[in-house]
Amino acid sequence: MNEAAADQAGGGRRLRGTLARRTQAGRTQAPYLIALLALVPLAVGVEYNLERPAAQGPMHETVAVAVAESADYAGARWELTSTAAGPPAEDVDLPRHSVVVYAALAVTPRDARAARRIENCDFSATDDEGRVWSTAAPDVPDFAGSADLPTGCYTPDGDFGQKLIRAGKRQQVVTAFLVPKDVVRRLRVRVGVRDAAPRYLEFSRDQGRDGEGVGGLVPAFPS
């Protein structure tokens, strides 16, 4: 019986000793745990903030602009004023089932810096399948009816020169695409400016019109 009591007392001492050691260890490790709890969320937060700008590019590649509406992009105001399928230049033989689509846009740079930034703007066209067409080769479209409108984001200067669009001036520009006939009704015009976010401004189409115009606007160019 005495032996059992002695064993019990010995066990109690061991338990107290163990608890004391654990408490001591807990006190020693507490600062590390607190540091860990503080630093892990901090590291995640810093990494998230550093990566967020990079992740936003591909996820927000375009901003769609409704028909007949304008939008701010790269420091300028943009509007798709007219689109229409039209004839090519006189001596160009187009492939079967292809057509030239003309687009007229209006761009108004907010200030001189924006005018400089958009000077090398880029036009393209896309369809529902994500296919992309660049502007047609210079010898393909017939811009004769465009009243000397520029084919880029600048103001013509003399016969062959070009200068920046004056801040606040609404400049009409024209462009053209060579596309298969069957995509004309599904074509959307895009504007891109280097290093601008979003990557593209995309003018949405209107399926409710007669289908002659792209983007649903009344064909007005070329006449």
Binding site: P95, R96, G130, R131, S134, L178, V179, D182, V183
Partner: protein, 200 residues
């Protein structure tokens, strides 16, 4: 006990052999990321999924004569000019097809000739657009003896990614020794090549 040990050793050997065998089945980096080939022949429409090409004609010549606004002097060769006439249609966006070469039977690659004016070379510019066919020439300069068994590989070149997993058409020119010899004997002394055009 001996039988058990023998069985264990045999199992180990089999497993090692299996590991070696499986390791050899792992695709090489080229196989994993190389071009995706679609095979066809002259006169056949080859749809690679990334572009479509039809090589309609193969001609040989000793001298090339460029046409156009400012043609240079005729270009002679000590070998032979191989001139393919083809129609190329893009599928996704404006692209060049600069990863194009003639592959001889011994594996030697001859890339599109830089001695021929690039404006007359179908694969050398960025103007191949989705759904709009363009017709032009693809020109190689090769030793005549390399013609037998040659194939032409036309690959879309990527600005980014170095053409990894890019679509590639492999056109068998169907030139056995007799046919190659006959074509070389009949090679045109002079061949005029025009600029790339749209169509058909």
């Amino acid at each position: 006990m001996t039988l058990r040990r023998t069985g264990a050793v045999a199992a180990c050997v089999l497993l090692l052999a299996a590991i070696v065998g499986m390791h050899r089945l792992v695709p090489s980096p080229t196989e994993q990321m190389g071009p995706i080939s679609t095979h066809g022949q002259v006169g056949e429409r080859i749809d690679t999924g990334g572009f479509t090409i039809t090589v309609s004609k193969v001609r040989l010549a000793r001298t090339l004569v460029e046409q156009g606004f400012s043609p240079g002097p005729p270009v002679r060769t000590d070998g032979i000019w191989v001139v393919l006439t083809a129609t190329l249609t893009g599928e996704w966006k404006a692209a060049a097809h600069g990863d194009t070469f003639l592959e001889a039977a011994d594996g030697t690659k001859y890339y599109v000739s830089e001695r021929s004016d690039s404006s007359s070379q179908l694969t050398e510019d960025l103007s191949t657009e989705p759904g709009v066919p363009r017709r032009g020439r693809i020109v190689f300069e090769i030793p005549p003896e390399q013609l037998t068994g040659a194939v032409v590989r036309i690959g879309r070149s990527e600005t980014l990614g170095g053409g990894r997993l890019a679509p590639q058409a492999v056109v068998d020119l169907r030139l056995d020794a007799a046919r190659a010899r006959a074509m070389i004997d009949d090679a045109a002394p002079k061949l005029s090549i025009g600029a790339v055009e749209y169509g058909p």
